[in-house]
Amino acid sequence: MVNLFKLRLQTEYLRFLLKRNARYMFIMSIAMMTLYPVLGLTVKILSRSDSYDGIREVGLFFNISLLMFTAFMIPLQIMSYMNSKKNLDVYHALPIKRSDLFITSLIAAIAIVVVPFTIGWFSGGLMMMTGSFNFLVIFERYFALISIATAILSVVLFTMMNTGTSLDAFLYSLTLNFIPILAYGAYILFVQTILLGFSIGDLTKWVGIIFPIFALFESGFEISGRMWASGYVNGLYWLVLSGVIIAISNQFYLRRKSEKAEKPFTNKTFFPTVSGLLIILFIIFLYCVIYSMNSSFYYTSYYAPINFIFPIFFSMVLYLVMDAIAERGFKHLAKAFIHYLVIAAVAFSLLIGGLWSKGFGYASRIPSLSNIESIDFDYYDNSNFIMSSPSYYRDMMAVPASSLHLTTADDISAVYELHRIIIAEYKWIDYNYNYAFNNNLVTMIEEQKGYTKSYETLPFFINNSINSAQVKITYHLKSGGDLVRSYTVPLQWTNSLLTLNNTPDIIEVNAPNLANMDEYPNVNMADWVTPVGKASISPLKINLSELKTAYLMDIAALSDAQAISTDYTAMGYLNLTTCKFKTSNCMTSVIDVDTRFTHVIAVLTATGVNLNPAPETALRSAVLILPEESSPATIVDIPMFRVAMPQSSQRYTFDLESSYEESQPNTYTYVNLSDDQLIQILPYITQRGISETPLISLVFNNGSGNLLIQAQYTDEVLAIISENQRKSVVNLYNLFATDGK
């Protein structure tokens, strides 16, 4: 590094090089301007449109592609003298220090790459500027792009210092550019395949800082999340990285022997290192691909020979081809084969070591309960059996709800218990099963010899094969540091999570508008919806702060049992849209309200809204499905008769039936309800909770939710429908097919 600061630019030579390449730069500038802006402006004029969407992106893509191409090719051309003994006889005899020659050639190469791009970028950018694509954005992206192009160029330069021909320099520049992403891919695939609970994190963030070609296009289009939001910080990162690579390259240049020019490699450790690394990565990568394919169909041992055959063949052919190119022939084939065997032995030692130790105990590691400060818990359960719908809509896009930040001992214990169950249950199959692809995990574990169940089952029946939950547990430890695990687990294991329904942070999933009121403070729309009617509330009358306080008070007042009880009467739900600005950047979600939410009811009542709006003139047809007189008798255990879900849950009674599978078709007994009967039973409906006993289910035609009749009102409801004809149905989808209304 010290030598880097001793470098002196030979300005006369720099000027000479730029002048010699002036024509090239001119032509490249014209090429860069062809699509961006010339074609863009042409299309705009012809279409008489104010928008550049699409055509500007084509131009950007073209120019960024050219930038990438020139970043690869220009250093090869400017420093091509290094690959010819004849040229070196002159260049290295010149009275200039090698490091000065190096830096001057480097600066010239960067300038030759950057100047045409700068002309194209700014002429296009400034002429096709729009509100969101303003000068600041254009300049920020430009800085990032130039920095990343410099990084690509510096990798080419580094490769040139280790190779003796332009062909090898080009091939290995490409290889070195791709090795980090291959390494990352192999790592991700390996740990995902092998390590139960591995959390992948944000893939594009990491790819964006290790793979310059991806980073180049990412920075040009800002298509995904980045490690750092600012283009300047991203650019600075790549510049620093370039600086380090250039400093190392300079050292290699000073040691590069002129007599080795025209040989494939000037550094004898380069080929073994790069090819060895590449082969090891390919073996691991391909093993994981084959294992994943294999295990997506069957329960497969890591060590099954079928997993190894293709990686061995492919990597062997790849290595022998690389060696043949390096040696310019096949005379070295026998030696190459021996080298391959050594490399493959290293790769398989690493692979099998990782498999055997399960990532050195990673899969079964769990922190001690006393060392946990707090837990960030992400839960997604498509069935919503355990918790409410964990998503909301923002600008029409479904967004996962935020993590629950759990700090109390009870909440931490609930999640910890789940983690303990996962470790204890997976132990029976040696943590070696891909539940993401195969869904008979519970059955398979139960069939293991000597198996004993490590968890308490849910109070309702669910099929072993179709109900799963995705969880991500982030432990914040008292000893410092975090421990992150992600799992897809059978829903049967999640009983302990039911106690999270009354944790204060449940507001994040149950009422995301209230949880995010600081970010989305402007109420844009509010509707109160019941099973039979709807009433609008003036947004001005909604005080989010009061509502949030009320909601938290209601939640805090609930015991664990009350939080999942079906003994409360459904009131309806508040459909709420709140925005960052007055009417834009909005999010929409619902807040379910029943008689447990006394403070919320008070706040809503204060707005003047009628919480029992008049029934609509044409009510949806409804039926009651009775948990008795059905066959087989066990169907009363299915979630349809046990789990109440509000109309806002996006779940349907029909779906809850499908979680139960029997060889014989189920036959259900039901009655049709008149409008009057429906209105009569409204006070007996429950909309959120889990019942130990089977309850009567209320089903609306095309209505969502799984509303149940509270146990204590069963007799009242049966009395109301005593005269109704009992009917039978096998397929619940046919409930309303023939009844008209």
Binding site: E12, R20, S84, K86, D89, H92, A93, L94, K97, E259
Partner: protein
């Protein structure tokens, strides 16, 4: 002027030069000779700073040459296969060298251009091999170097141009006390121009001396006898070359001529005559004595 001390150079595992000790005085014209693959070009590349020695030091007036611009500024290396920038003209090459050699002599450049009758605006790629050689010499001499290293300098030049080239070098020597090292296979050419010769052989310099000293040390003798002599009659002289035609012998020997004569006369020859020896013969017989060029 230029001093090489204990120089060693290998390419991978192949030893090319070893134990090279060579002092080249200012104002001398040294001929560097040696068989193919002896390392002549490598030695010149080491002296010009293109290559770095594995061991030893190469200095110009006490300063190490490798990666030392102030020393390299005084040295001009003309390789056997001259390099020119792609699609460049002589004029462009002149600009290239002017960047690095502040001593570039425009008047000399113009003078040499006229001498060799080359158009500086023509593309060098269109030049013949000889013209390219001329172009490289023009550029080299125009840089006004104190040391001129020429690898296979006369290759591709026609006789007139060779002569002109030799004159140029001797003129430079007389005018500016330039030091020249020329490697060549053509010893006749070197003999005309060089005042000293170094013979590179078996990875090292086996002979280095002034041309006259070398000549005076090597003797070519024709010896005749009245009857056939025993096979070991000249063994004591360790001749470099011995040829028998009937009763007449042709011998090349190294050493003091009077001692050689005394020894031969003791064998009572009827004819003893010294024939003039050329440098080429010295080179050939020296190499022959070391087994070079002999058919197995």
């Amino acid at each position: 002027m230029i001093a090489l001390k204990n120089i060693k150079k290998s390419f991978d595992n192949k030893l090319v030069l070893e134990n090279i000790n060579w002092d080249i005085p200012k104002g001398s014209i040294y001929g560097l000779v040696g068989p193919n693959g002896a390392g002549k070009s490598t030695l010149l590349r080491l002296m010009s700073g293109v290559l770095s020695p594995d061991a030893g030091q190469i200095t110009l007036e006490g300063a190490i040459i490798y990666d030392n611009p102030s020393a390299k500024k005084k040295i001009m290396f003309v390789p056997d296969d001259p390099f020119f920038l792609t699609q460049s003209s002589l004029k462009e090459m002149k600009k290239f060298y002017q960047i690095f050699y502040s001593t570039f002599n425009e008047a000399m450049y113009q003078k040499l251009l006229n001498h060799f009758k080359l158009n500086e605006n023509d593309k060098i790629t269109d030049f013949s091999k000889g013209m390219k050689r001329q172009a490289s010499v023009i550029l080299a001499l125009s840089c006004d170097p104190e040391v001129l290293l020429l690898d296979e300098a006369f290759d591709g030049l026609d006789p007139v141009m060779r002569l002109m080239f030799k004159r140029l070098i001797t003129d430079e020597l007389m005018n500016r006390q330039i030091t020249v090292v020329i490697s060549s296979h053509n010893l006749r050419e070197l003999e005309d121009i060089c005042d000293s010769i170094a013979l590179l052989d078996h990875n090292t310099i086996s002979i280095q001396d002034e041309v006259e000293n070398i000549r005076s040390n090597y003797h070519k003798l024709q010896i005749g006898y009245s009857k056939e002599q025993a096979g070991d009659v000249f063994n004591e002289l360790k001749p470099l070359h011995l040829e028998q035609r009937g009763h007449v012998y042709l011998m090349v020997a190294k050493g003091d001529i009077s001692a050689i004569r005394t020894l031969i006369e003791s064998t009572q020859p009827i004819l003893l005559e010294e024939i003039p020896i050329t440098m080429e013969e010295v080179f050939v017989y020296e190499m022959e004595a070391k087994g070079y060029g002999q058919l197995v």
